[in-house]
């Protein structure tokens, strides 16, 4: 039981530390938000407010994907050199990854809010839709897709942080193929939310996304100690 307590207290400490650093330094989330809003603005300039549902979905997920890379890609940048060696001796690796996962999910939730509101603000609701659409499902699709993306990206950035040169670019390269299944499911769900497809026909996508996230998060937790060990 001591092990489990140690893991949980490590997770809590790591998550709280990340949060405090975020508030004190404040550049990480701000940088991501800036990236997201600037990207949406470029999309707005190029596509105007007459975007159909297909293009709307494609651009939403591209902006979201690269904002995700920006937000999570540098997750382990602080744990290098001496800090890393210190944490290898003192911190429980499972607790460390759980804390990072928790922090990343909070970040992604904030990112979802920023990207979606920016899309609605600048681009408006997609044009030429058959039905009224389902705003609630759109929010669910964006958040669940982002959640799924995050669990994979945490693993990828943990792997990439071990590579001495150019970890940022490597994270993006490794992350893209790993994220394709999540993105396929998430874009289908988004298209469903922007059409008059009944809920019942879309119910499998959230389940698949949740199952995929749970699977990748579990794998990340199992494999992380091997990455982390010196």
């Amino acid at each position: 039981m001591v092990g489990a307590n140690h893991t949980l207290s490590t997770a809590w400490t790591v998550a709280r530390l990340e949060w405090q650093l975020e508030w004190r330094q404040g550049h990480q989330l701000a940088a991501v938000g800036l990236f997201a809003i600037a990207s949406v603005y470029v999309v707005f300039q190029a596509a105007d407010q007459r975007t159909g549902a297909a293009a709307w979905t494609a651009m939403l997920w591209l902006v979201y994907l690269f904002s995700g890379f920006t937000a999570i890609g540098r997750l382990f940048d602080r744990e290098r050199g001496d800090v890393r060696r210190y944490l290898q001796w003192t911190a429980d690796p499972l607790g460390l990854i759980l804390g990072k996962l928790f922090h990343s999910i909070l970040t992604t939730t904030a990112l979802t809010a920023v990207v979606l509101s920016a899309f609605i603000l600048f681009l408006g609701w997609p044009q030429g839709m058959e039905g009224p659409g389902k705003p609630g499902l759109l929010v669910l699709a964006a958040w669940l897709g982002g959640f799924s993306m995050t669990t994979t990206l945490v693993f990828v950035s943990a792997v990439a942080s071990q590579v001495r040169s150019g970890s940022g670019a490597l994270g993006a390269v490794l992350g893209l193929p790993l994220l394709l299944p999540q993105l396929i499911l998430a874009t289908r769900l988004t298209r469903g939310a922007l059409s008059d497809t009944p809920w019942a026909m879309l119910s499998e996508y959230p389940l698949f996304l949740a199952a995929l996230s749970a699977g990748t998060a579990t794998l990340a937790c199992i494999l992380f100690p091997y990455i982390w060990r010196a």
Binding site: L180, E204, Y226
Partner: protein, 347 residues
């Protein structure tokens, strides 16, 4: 003893592949109906031409009396009169009644040597009312003669001659699964023991597996062009296959990015374990829960829907073993290269 065994499995594998290639390309396809023209009929006397592949009508005595052609609407049969029999086609006159149980007609040709040929949705009657076929237009079901064909592959509409691709495409994916499974086990062993040899094995397996994955994609793309009309379609199985190959390419990129870092073995093993779990999810779990054009999703992949008959089985099973042996041979060669490179570098 070991040397002799090596000769047996390598030689046996190559012999099986030679057999598969020869038999796969030399075996004739069973005859089958391809088209009916015109595809839209009107009520009254109409002439219908049915074309076939495999020369089912080139019997020793191609006289009209040996053949019977009937059209089926719903469950009722419509009589036809044969006008002309050619090796590749048969022309019939049909008197289409005003009332039919169904506006689409299936065609059946009963032949003396090639068995019964079937073409579903052969033609469409534009102006028929819904109702029973009047008695004077009807046909009784003719007697069937079992096909007297030698060793031949079954005819499947749309697939036709491309059924031979079954001996390439499917075993290549089987070989990829097999060698990636081997790589997965090697990576687990690497994580457990940390021994370099397991890392070299995993690298060799993944590299060979990617080769077979690319071959599987290429043969699959050819097949898709022939049967579905496009080189690539958005389908759960195809998405999964492409993502799998991309994932494993990521493995090679990760190794290349790490260079001669001594942690490459463990990190690559971690990535490989992750990739294999994704492979199982993408190719074996997800496609079964979503609709797919790709056959073989209702149980054992690749088997049930093809309805493998005995002639196809007699070539397909050797193909699976032959491609598997070739794949394993390529793996052992790559492993030997890896071991030599490793021993040179660590000298």
């Amino acid at each position: 003893m070991n040397g002799a065994w090596n000769w047996i499995w390598k030689g046996g594998g190559i012999a099986l592949l030679a057999y598969v290639i020869l038999r796969g390309f030399s075996t004739p396809l069973q005859p089958g109906l391809v088209t009916a023209s015109p595809s839209a009929l009107k009520t009254g006397k109409q002439v219908l031409n049915l074309t076939a592949v495999g020369q089912p009508f080139a019997t020793p005595d191609p006289s009209a009396a040996n053949f019977t052609v009937v059209l089926r609407a719903g469950t009722q049969l419509l009589r036809t009169e044969i006008q002309e029999v050619q090796p590749h086609g048969i022309t019939v006159e049909v008197n289409v009644p005003n009332s039919l149980p169904s506006r689409t007609l299936d065609a059946f040709v009963f032949t003396p040597t090639a068995g019964t040929l079937f073409l579903g949705n052969a033609c469409f009657v534009e102006d028929a009312a819904k109702g029973d076929i009047p008695a004077e237009f009807r046909s009784v079901r003719p007697d069937e003669t079992p096909p007297q064909l030698g060793f031949s592959f079954p005819y499947q509409p749309n697939i036709m001659e491309s059924i031979r691709n079954l001996l390439w495409h499917v075993p290549m994916w089987f070989a990829m699964f097999f060698i990636m499974g081997l790589g997965f086990v090697a990576s687990l062993a690497q994580l457990r023991s940390g021994a370099v040899l397991w890392d070299l094995r995993a690298e060799a397996a993944v590299r060979t597996g990617i080769t077979f994955g690319l071959l599987g994609l290429a043969t699959g793309s050819l097949w898709a062009r022939w049967t579905w009309g496009a080189w690539w379609v958005s389908d759960p199985q195809l998405n999964g296959a492409l993502i799998t190959v991309l994932l494993y390419s990521g493995y090679l990129i990760l190794r290349a990015a790490m260079g001669e870092d001594d942690r490459v073995g463990r990190l690559a093993a971690v990535y490989n374990v992750f990739a294999f779990v994704m492979l199982v999810i993408l190719l074996m779990v997800l496609p079964r829960y979503t609709e797919s054009l790709h056959p073989g999703k209702d149980g054992n992949p690749g088997f049930n829907k093809y309805d493998l008959d005995n002639s196809l089985r007699a070539v397909f099973y050797p193909a699976v073993i032959g491609w598997g042996a070739l794949c394993y041979w390529m793996y052992t060669l790559r492993l030997r290269m890896n071991r030599i490179a490793h021993s040179l570098l660590s000298r």
